[in-house]
Symmetry: C2
Subunit: 394 residues, 2 copies
């Protein structure tokens, strides 16, 4: 901690945010990552590389010391680029402002999740040096995320687009697939609402801090999301959503999801940015067509034509794109035995976690997850925050 | 002619249908092909192989003699299949009925076009043994067909589908691209009408004989089509349109066109059959998306998803699919000289044929066609039945 003499005061605020038993070094690293979320803009690859190379605490100390020579050496950058990076970060190394951000997080009940935590979404690691340094989370992230689909689209959606978004989101969420979106008006909001209505779980990625509902008209929706899912951001509480942060946020939506489905999007919609991230990350990409006379579908048609997106007409197409029907199907005979054992290991009354179920039925975690996924598709089990349980009467 | 003693009577009717100077052997072959169009069903590959192997006259004589042994030997078929083929053909070898068909062709002004004729569409040769044995044509076929696009779709089209079909057909036809369709109600009719309204050329492929307007409500439309384009069928006049003939006719629509665009189609629409033919012939295939809530677009979405059809939102997408913008573009400097020479060889007042233009400007036919195609896209020339002319003021 001696590396951060001028920031020691903010530690008190941080300790309130983290649970469990951590040693001082862990606490310091988490603390430093939390501070970084207020120091660099999201997706700053130089910050990502520096933190990866020497740890968040040491990286922060280099900023505090304004040590461009060492930053350049650690990152393998030329000196000028290191100067530029420090010039970006230094002005934000203001203890009062950073403490205010941590305090806002504490007040709003946001938890800090960093790489290596049990609930850190490992899919984000595919972003490499553009991986977020931490996530601020309201609500709950699963330890073992199952199938996840991003449903995004135009703010200025038509009733057609909202209708289709809701149909798809409700169907997927009702089958236990996590629905991710950006909490905007229009398609995003329709997807979140329908997922919740179907009793499913949905996550919202915000461009600004999770302490402020954006858009404010979705404050109630965001609160409802946090009851079973998560409202997340990689920027510190108190941060305003800016154009850059919306674009950066889009990479998180794409990275968190197995597939991204664009429901309605204008020719230059921000959703195309999310789609491009999905494609570049090797995630599946789908687009819902609409009337060619509707400008709100022009972006979707562009995705079909130029990005080789899959034509999505309903939830079944999404499941097929995810390969859920095929991949989860084990050999027929094996499956009968496995399924019987799995059924015996589950309860209709109490929720059981995957590792608990695995122990009870003597199968590997992977087999249990696979089997539960299949049973979920058939509606034979339910999936909730506390684990899995049998659906009575199936 | 001695091979066809019992059919000699029908020769008189045939001679009235063919122009130019032909020797007796030519006339006999044409005559025999005309008769075959009333003897076998369209796309009968055994008939195609037999005629290709020994000529239409000899093939007909083998049917008249009911000679399964020779048919089997000529075609390399087993005896049973030759028997089956003869059993299909023999009952229709009825001179009175065939003569009535030829007579109907004469009365309706239908011309016979056979492989090797100047106006035989060589694209049909890609059908191999399923190539039609002849075409009955009302109106005119070009000697050198330019870019040709099939626009097809549902009979029970929506106003959305008809609107989009008309927009695309008018744009393409107005730019000198030939629009092919099947003369049905709905999308087909909209495409034909819009092509004509734009001053373009359109062709209709019928499932029954060209002497009967089908559907009868399109009698006037079909007559208007024949003024600049062609109404065609491979079956003899007097033949009724049957389900099989509709399906067979679809392969001709696909084969005649550089690209097939399906505008609206239900999940099991006949247009998907046309699309499948286009794909199997290596032709470009496009589909216009629509609302996923519209059953009339379900077939189009299926084409996008399962057949890798290109997503078509307008005429520009069709031109891009055809590669018209790229392929017609010669090297920049050469083109300036060529274009000047081409311009000088054209007239704004009189129509000139491609070979006439080529002679006047001293360029090859291929170069002239290429250059005219480019000028057509820019609206600098017009293309009509009598050739090409300059557009004044461009």
């Amino acid at each position: 901690m001696s590396l951060l003499p001028d920031l020691a005061g903010s530690r008190v605020a941080l300790v309130g945010l983290i649970g469990g038993l951590l040693d001082d070094e862990d606490i310091a690293e988490r603390h430093a990552r939390a501070l970084w979320s207020g120091i660099c803009e999201p997706g700053d690859g130089d910050a990502g590389s520096l933190v990866d190379a020497c740890g968040a605490v040491n990286a922060l100390a280099l900023v505090a010391r304004d040590d461009a020579r060492v930053v350049a050496a650690v990152e393998g950058l030329d000196r000028r680029r290191a100067d530029d990076a420090l010039a970006r970060w230094r002005p934000r190394l203001a203890p009062a402002a950073l403490d205010a951000g941590l305090d806002a997080a504490r007040r709003t009940g946001a938890r800090l999740v960093v790489p290596g935590d049990a609930t850190w979404p490992s899919r984000l690691d595919d972003l490499g040096r553009h991986r977020p340094l931490c996530l601020w989370v309201r609500g709950a992230l699963p330890e073992r995320p199952g199938p996840t689909v991003a449903i995004v689209g135009a703010r200025a959606a038509t009733s057609y687009g909202e209708h289709v978004a809701m149909e798809i989101a409700a169907d997927l969420a009702g089958a236990g697939i996590r629905v991710v979106s950006g909490a905007a008006y229009g398609i995003d909001g329709a997807a979140h609402r329908a997922a919740l209505s179907a009793g499913g779980v949905t996550d919202a990625l915000l461009a600004g801090g999770v302490d402020r509902a954006y858009p404010s008209g979705h404050a109630d929706l965001l609160s409802r999301i946090t009851r079973t899912g998560a409202v997340m951001s990689e920027v510190m509480c108190g941060s305003a959503p800016t154009k850059w942060r919306f674009l950066s946020r889009n990479r998180l939506i794409a990275a968190l999801s197995d597939a991204t489905v664009v429901v309605e999007a204008g020719w230059r919609s921000g959703s195309l940015n999310t789609a491009a991230h999905a494609a570049s990350l090797g995630r599946s990409l789908g687009a819902v067509p609409g009337p060619v006379t509707s400008p709100t579908s022009a972006g979707c048609h562009r995705l079909l034509r130029e990005f080789d997106a899959r034509c999505i007409t309903g939830a079944a197409d999404v499941r097929e794109m995810l390969g859920l029907d095929d991949e989860l199907l084990p050999g027929a005979d094996d499956w009968v035995d496995q399924a019987t054992a799995l059924r015996d290991a589950l309860s209709a009354r109490s929720w059981r976690r995957v590792d608990d179920v695995a122990q009870r039925c003597g199968q590997s975690l992977a087999d249990v997850e696979r089997g539960l996924g299949l049973m979920l598709l058939d509606g034979r089990v339910q999936h909730g925050p506390a684990g899995w349980r049998l659906v009575v009467g199936r």
